[in-house]
C-alpha cells in the first residue's frame, strides 16, 4: 500500500479502480431494482440519473468556472432529440434503416448518445463563442435566450413532430447473451449508470487537472487569471462546450427512459431545476450535485406524493419550495460548499492519525 512510486502501469490500472467499482455497485443496485421495484420506482431512478448527469454538467459552468448559464435545458433538448431521432430511425416501430445488427444492437444507444452529446456540444460552442464575452447578468440572459431559441426551433421542426412531440422513442437495443435477454429497464439503467459514472469521473479528473485549475482561476478572479496568462474566454468556452456535451448525454438517457419527447419538457423551468440542484449541492462540489439530484428527484416523488395522497391536499410544490427556502437561508453555500464527500473521509482518517490516502 505504501510502495513509494508506483509504476505507470499500476497507476493506470488504479485510475480505473474507482470508476469500475462505482459502476459495479450501481449495476448491482440496478439488478435489485429490476427484480423488486415497480415501474414507477424504476422510472424515478432513471430520472434521478438524468438529473445527476445534468447537475454535474451544469456544475462545471456555474460552479467551477463561475459563469451563470440559464439555458441548460436547451442543450439537453438537443441531445435528447438527436439521440431519440436516431433511435426512432433505426430501432423504432417499422424502422427501415439498420445501424448495428444483432448481437451488437445494444451498442446503438451509447453511440447515439455520444452523437447527441456532440450535437449539444456543437450547439454549446455556437452559443458560447459570442456570449461568453459577456459577464454576470448579461450572460445569464443570453443563455436563457438561446435555450428558448433551441426549444422554439424544435417546436417548428416537422421532422421531429413539432408541438405534437415525438412519440415512440425505443428503449436501448437488446443485449442477448445466449438464451437470456436483459429487460428494457435494465438496459436503460445500464447505460444511465454508465454515463453517470463516465460524467462524474471525467469531471472529477478534469477539475483537478491543469485545465480545471484554469477554469477555477476564472471563477476566483478573472483579472488575476488573465495576468497569469490564462486565456479566460477560451477557458469559458471550453467549460461551456464540455458541459453542453454532458447535458446532451443527460438528454439522450432521458429520451430513452420516457420514450416520448416534447419541446415543452425543455422549458426554462428545466434549466432552473438544474440550477437548484447545483446550488443546493454546493457550487463547485461534484458529490454535492449528485446528492442534491437525489434529494430533488426523490423528495417530491417518494415523500411528498404519498403525503398528498394521504392528506388529499396537493401542497407538494408548496412544501418543496418552502424546504428549499429554509435550507438556502440556513446554509447558503449549499450542502457541501466547495468540499466533496471524500474530504470528510480524509478528515476522519487524519483525525485518527493515519496517513490520508487520496481516493480516485
Amino acid at each position: 500500500m505504501t510502495d513509494a512510486a508506483p509504476s505507470p502501469q499500476t497507476r493506470f490500472r488504479r485510475s480505473f479502480l474507482a470508476p469500475t467499482a462505482t459502476f459495479a455497485v450501481l449495476l448491482a443496485l440496478g439488478g435489485i431494482l429490476d427484480r423488486t421495484a415497480n415501474g414507477y420506482t424504476q422510472l424515478i431512478f432513471l430520472f434521478m440519473f438524468v438529473n445527476m448527469i445534468l447537475a454535474l454538467s451544469l456544475n462545471l459552468v456555474n460552479g467551477f468556472t463561475g459563469q451563470f448559464s440559464l439555458g441548460h435545458a436547451g442543450f439537453m433538448a438537443v441531445g435528447a432529440y438527436v439521440s431519440g431521432y436516431l433511435s426512432v430511425l433505426t430501432m423504432g416501430v417499422g424502422a427501415r434503416l439498420m445501424f448495428l445488427p444483432q448481437p451488437f444492437e445494444f451498442l446503438n444507444f451509447p453511440i447515439f448518445a455520444v452523437a447527441g452529446g456532440l450535437a449539444a456540444a456543437a450547439a454549446g460552442y455556437l452559443v458560447g463563442l459570442p456570449s461568453l464575452r459577456l459577464r454576470g447578468d448579461y450572460l445569464a440572459i443570453v443563455t436563457l435566450g438561446f435555450g428558448e431559441i433551441i426549444r422554439v426551433v424544435l417546436l417548428n421542426t416537422k421532422a421531429v413532430g413539432g408541438a405534437r412531440g415525438m412519440p415512440g422513442v425505443p428503449a436501448p437495443g437488446e443485449l442477448v447473451v445466449g438464451d437470456y435477454v436483459f429487460s428494457p429497464f435494465f438496459m436503460n439503467y445500464l447505460w444511465a449508470a454508465f454515463w453517470l459514472t463516465t460524467t462524474f469521473f471525467v469531471l472529477w479528473r478534469l477539475v483537478r487537472s491543469t485545465h480545471g485549475r484554469g477554469f477555477q482561476s476564472v471563477r476566483e478572479d478573472e483579472i488575476a487569471a488573465e495576468a497569469m496568462g490564462v486565456n479566460t474566454t477560451k477557458m469559458k468556452v471550453q467549460a461551456f462546450v464540455i458541459s453542453s456535451f454532458f447535458a446532451g448525454l443527460a438528454g439522450a438517457v432521458f429520451a430513452s427512459a420516457t420514450k416520448y419527447l416534447n419541446p415543452s419538457t425543455f422549458q426554462f423551468t428545466k434549466s432552473v431545476d438544474a440550477i437548484i440542484m447545483v446550488v443546493l449541492g454546493g457550487m463547485g462540489s461534484l458529490t454535492g450535485s449528485v446528492i442534491a439530484a437525489i434529494i430533488v428527484t426523490m423528495l417530491p416523488e417518494f415523500v411528498l406524493r404519498p403525503l398528498q395522497e394521504y392528506t388529499g391536499v396537493d401542497l407538494r410544490m408548496v412544501i418543496y419550495s418552502l424546504l428549499l427556502i429554509i435550507f438556502m437561508i440556513s446554509r447558503p453555500q449549499g450542502i457541501f460548499g466547495k468540499a466533496e464527500v471524500t474530504d470528510l473521509f480524509k478528515r476522519l482518517t487524519k483525525a485518527r492519525g493515519k496517513d490520508g490516502r487520496t481516493s480516485a
Binding site: 455497485v25 448491482a28 415501474g39 412531440g165 415512440g168 416520448y260 419538457t265
Partner: protein, 398 residues
C-alpha cells in the same frame, strides 16, 4: 496487492449478481409476465373501492384545463357513488398533478398503474401529455380515456387508448355539412393557416366533404399564424364572390381577418372550428366577428335535458357555469362508469372491451359512439358569435 485482488473479486461478484438479476430467459419473455400481471391486478380489483386514476395539469400555466376536467370527473364519480356505485362497490379517484409537463405525465401515469394499481386511467387535455402517457397505459394493458385530446395520433398508440371528443378532421366535415345544408352555400372560399396541423386538417376535410356534396371550392388561400395583414388574400377571395368563407385558424388571426374582411366589404359569413373558442375572439374582432359561425364540443344553450341537468348540478356543486373541458371530463368518466357496469368482471381487459362497445351513449357533449379506431363518433354543435356569448345554432351529426 492482496487488498486490490480482493476488491477485484468483490466487483466481479457484484457484476455477476447484476447480470443474473437483470436478465430473463429469452423465449417466454413477453407472454407470461403479461398474464401474471393481469391476474395480479384482477385480484386487487375484486375487493374494496374501485380505483380509477386521473392525471392532469392541476398546477402550472394550464392549470385551468386540469382543474375544469377534474371537477367534471369528480361530479360524475360522486353521482355514481350516490347512486350506489358500480356492482355495489364505491369508486375512488386518485387524481395526480403533472404540472403541465409531459415527463411528469409519464411518471404520474406509471405511478397510477404500477403503484396505485388503478383499473383505468382518465386524462389528459393536451395531446402532447396524453401522447407521453398513453404508451405506458398501453404497455401495462390498462384502459385510458382522454376527455379532450383531439390530435388523431393519440388513439393510434394502441387498442387500450380511447377518447370521448371528436378528432380534428371531423370539424371540417361538420362545417362543410353546415355550410351546405343550413347556409345553402354553393361556392365557398378557404383561408387556412399552413403552419398548423390542426388548420390544415380541418381545411382538407372541409374541402373533401363539400365537394362530395356537390359544392365548389372557388379559391383556397393560405396564411401563417403570426401574420397581421390578410388584405391580399381577402381581396382575391372577394373577387370570387363566395357564399361563405371557411377559416379554420385560431382566434388571434381570425379576429383580425374578420375586421379586415369587413373593411373590404365582404358580406359572406365566416366559418371556423373550436380554435375560435375564446373570449379574446371578440376583443380582437369586435363587432366584425358578430354573426359568424364556428363548431364546438358543447353549448350551454342546448335544450337537451342531459345538458341542462348537468349545468344545473354543476352550478349547485361548484357555483359556476361549466366550460367545455368540464363537460368532456364528465363524459369521459361517465363512459368509463357505464363500461364498468356492463363488464362481467372488473378487469382492465373487460373494461377495455366494454369501452370499445360504447354505442349511442347519451353524454353532455352529445351521443357518443366509439368507432373501430377508438375515437368518439359524436355530433358537433355549431354556434353563432354574439359578443362574448356564443348562441347555439344547430347540431351536426356525423
Amino acid at each position: 496487492m492482496g487488498y486490490e485482488a480482493m476488491l477485484k473479486h468483490v466487483l466481479a461478484g457484484l457484476v455477476i449478481f447484476a447480470a443474473t438479476t437483470g436478465c430473463t430467459r429469452k423465449t417466454p419473455v413477453a407472454a407470461p409476465s403479461e398474464s401474471s400481471d393481469d391476474s395480479h391486478r384482477a385480484q386487487v380489483a375484486m375487493t374494496g373501492d374501485i380505483l380509477i386514476g386521473e392525471y392532469g395539469s392541476m398546477t402550472g400555466g394550464e392549470a385551468t384545463f386540469g382543474l375544469s376536467t377534474h371537477e367534471g370527473v369528480m361530479m360524475a364519480i360522486d353521482e355514481t357513488n350516490e347512486a350506489g356505485g358500480v356492482k355495489g362497490r364505491r369508486l375512488k379517484v386518485i387524481a395526480l398533478d403533472n404540472q403541465g409537463k409531459p415527463d411528469e405525465a409519464a411518471a404520474v401515469v406509471t405511478r397510477l398503474i404500477t403503484e396505485n394499481k388503478v383499473v383505468a386511467v382518465l386524462g389528459e387535455v393536451a395531446s402532447g401529455r396524453t401522447l407521453a402517457a398513453a404508451p405506458i397505459a398501453q404497455q401495462h394493458k390498462i384502459p385510458m380515456i382522454s376527455p379532450s385530446s383531439t390530435n388523431p395520433q393519440v388513439t393510434e398508440v394502441g387498442d387500450y387508448i380511447f377518447r370521448v371528443c371528436f378528432i380534428d378532421p371531423f370539424q371540417g366535415t361538420a362545417m362543410a355539412k353546415f355550410a351546405h345544408e343550413k347556409l345553402s352555400a354553393k361556392k365557398v372560399a378557404i383561408l387556412r393557416d399552413v403552419k398548423s396541423d390542426y388548420s390544415v386538417g380541418l381545411a382538407t376535410f372541409f374541402a373533401k366533404t363539400f365537394r362530395q356534396m356537390g359544392g365548389e371550392i372557388v379559391i383556397d388561400q393560405s396564411y401563417q399564424s403570426g401574420e397581421k395583414d390578410f388584405k391580399a388574400q381577402l381581396t382575391q377571395i372577394r373577387s370570387k364572390k363566395p357564399d361563405a368563407i371557411f377559416i379554420p385558424g385560431y382566434y388571434t388571426e381570425v379576429g383580425l381577418i374578420a375586421q379586415q374582411a369587413k373593411q373590404l366589404g365582404i358580406k359572406a359569413p365566416l366559418l371556423g372550428g373550436d380554435g375560435w373558442d375564446s373570449e379574446k375572439l371578440y376583443q380582437i374582432g369586435k363587432d366584425a366577428i358578430n354573426g359568424q359561425y364556428f363548431s364546438s364540443h358543447y353549448t350551454t344553450e342546448s335544450t337537451d335535458s342531459v345538458v341542462q341537468d348537468f349545468i344545473k348540478n354543476y352550478k349547485a356543486k361548484y357555483g359556476k357555469v361549466p366550460d367545455g373541458l368540464a363537460a368532456l371530463g364528465y363524459d369521459a368518466a361517465k363512459v368509463l362508469v357505464s363500461a364498468m357496469e356492463r363488464a362481467a368482471e372488473l378487469t382492465p381487459k373487460n373494461i377495455r372491451d366494454e369501452i370499445a362497445r360504447t354505442k349511442d351513449f347519451a353524454g353532455v357533449t352529445g351521443r357518443i359512439t366509439i368507432d373501430g379506431k377508438r375515437n368518439a363518433v359524436k355530433p358537433a354543435v355549431v354556434v353563432k358569435v354574439d359578443g362574448t356569448v356564443n348562441r347555439y345554432v344547430t347540431t351536426i351529426t356525423p
